[in-house]
Symmetry: C2
Subunit: 380 residues, 2 copies
Amino acid sequence: MENFVAYNPVRLHFGKDCLSGLTTVLPIYGKRVLFVYGQGSIKKTGLYDEIRTYLDAIDATVVEFPGIRPNPIVEDVDAAARVGRDNKVDVILAVGGGSVIDSAKIISIAIPVTHSAWDFYTKAAKPKSSIPLVSVLTLAATGTEMNPFAVLSNHKTGQKDGYGNPFCYPKESFLDPELTISVPRDYTAYGIADLIVHCFELYFGAGDASLTDRFITSITREAMEYGPQLLENLDSYDLRARIMYAATMALNGLTGYGKVSGDWAMHSIGHVLSLLFDTPHGASLTIATPAWMRFFKNQIPGKLSALGTELFRKPLTADETIDEIEHFFRSIGCPVRLSDIGIGDDQLDKIFNGFISNHVGGACMKIAETDYRKIIDLMK
Amino acid sequence: MENFVAYNPVRLHFGKDCLSGLTTVLPIYGKRVLFVYGQGSIKKTGLYDEIRTYLDAIDATVVEFPGIRPNPIVEDVDAAARVGRDNKVDVILAVGGGSVIDSAKIISIAIPVTHSAWDFYTKAAKPKSSIPLVSVLTLAATGTEMNPFAVLSNHKTGQKDGYGNPFCYPKESFLDPELTISVPRDYTAYGIADLIVHCFELYFGAGDASLTDRFITSITREAMEYGPQLLENLDSYDLRARIMYAATMALNGLTGYGKVSGDWAMHSIGHVLSLLFDTPHGASLTIATPAWMRFFKNQIPGKLSALGTELFRKPLTADETIDEIEHFFRSIGCPVRLSDIGIGDDQLDKIFNGFISNHVGGACMKIAETDYRKIIDLMK
């Protein structure tokens, strides 16, 4: 086991009707609220009105920043930070999925400064403070609600990248599984895939941490058991709850303690697809994952075989493990090849160039530029 | 799944030589330090000198309170609180095992008040503040290093009881597995048993939280796999590390989220044995656990069978599960019957009376006073 520090200061409020707790929690941080949300689905579902009721109940002064897009971009974050700064907000309330909460994390460290938030990503600047962030999650997938990471795209530089800093932890996150019942079947499946691939990224990271690996396979098995049931019963609060909790635990620190790091090459590959084709994050990962595993199967046959044997509770070789995982993704309606999302051979050079400009690779299993074509071929 | 709040503010510093971090961490809370420890084993191992070096390096003003006993008593806590109060300490540094850290938690809430700490246990008083607590753990067992619970005995009232309050969380806990290498074989085994029974208490608590149950069995399997290896290799840093981390995770919240509560009757029974016969905590639990399981096996046959089947990875009935668990405890040298610790039939009335005065029972599986004799018989 590697040395580590385990620390996660997020207070997670989980369960039915937990949002009413906002009236107690928000005033702890202040009454001038920057209310950040996405492209209006919360207005259709009635969640917007519910939130406004809570804000009214505490006499909050509310500034809204709506319109955060999926695969969020740095321009929106910079614009929102300007609004927050000009209005001297005390606290950010972010309501939405991974895109909204990721954006809000970067807004929270960008409000106290005047430069672009992208400077954090290029390491040109380091945050020294943040505006407290309270999040309300509406999509079970990324785990952003209980970690300090945020992914942003910069179309000017052609990059999509992750960033993490302790200042980016939400102070409080509210998870009512009922809010995820309106998520359609495809995005529900992408969320299940996303949480599973988070587990894989950590599993294939370097370092021998046996209990952490047990937690990783526990979460993966939970998703593989209840995910398909949920897709047959999208209205089930109980199944939504199990998947929502699994997604949170897949990336809140627990799956990494005692390891050197996660690998993150599967995400690195997926980010390029999302950036180029606006592929939903989870769908990009189910294409990237089998290709990554097949590319490395001769280097880590034992690790792949042990994973499959534990997940499926029968002895599996590395090849059989990859086949079973691919079969699982396909069974829940996720794409596993570029052709499944309509990307033909004419796009492969574009993907190759995206790999180059995004320095595609992992922290542990090294990928050279000369490997890029092979990996892309495995996604065809 | 039940609604829950997941929150654990402890910063855990884990690994080889992590104690040097004390010189960075302690000054955050202040320089007037109440240094609490046990009956001198830290002087024999050299840990005392190491700690004093760190305290000197930060020019700390140190007041010592040594002599905390195993199965700690409220009189020691009250005396230490008086010392801390009189010396206006900023921070408590507790160095030891569960007894020392449990005591320090209650000292931390007793310093700001003038009444006896036992008033917290009787609910006559509630803490409103606490002195920050930094802990250094020397025994892998109770999980106290990352939770807000503390067990104390009061020999005047004949009670041993647990208490928990958010003010009792350590701010920081330092876990260097190397410090546990000096723990002798028997106490190492009791620690392994203790962490396993923590898992069982939560497993048999009410509520259907599937991922939490997976975490519980993951931790139990980790202890059952590496525990026996450690007992054959007491000097192994690697095995000490795996068991130390498992013990922390067994009782830091993770094993309870989404459940109504743990049961805690096995601990309730064990506490009586410790109180009456000074039985080491872990050893009291390995006697209590099989008896508790046999008493309830007809009420929860499916739950017992599922536990055994997951832990031992072969289909087991409830009876077979209990037999395997008892066999495991015996195989690591823990007592599983009163006769194993030299308690004969002449003591059974005393135990019965202890059950009565301590209101022995669990939060979920109800035990009536009329059941006490049956449970005691199962421990014979």
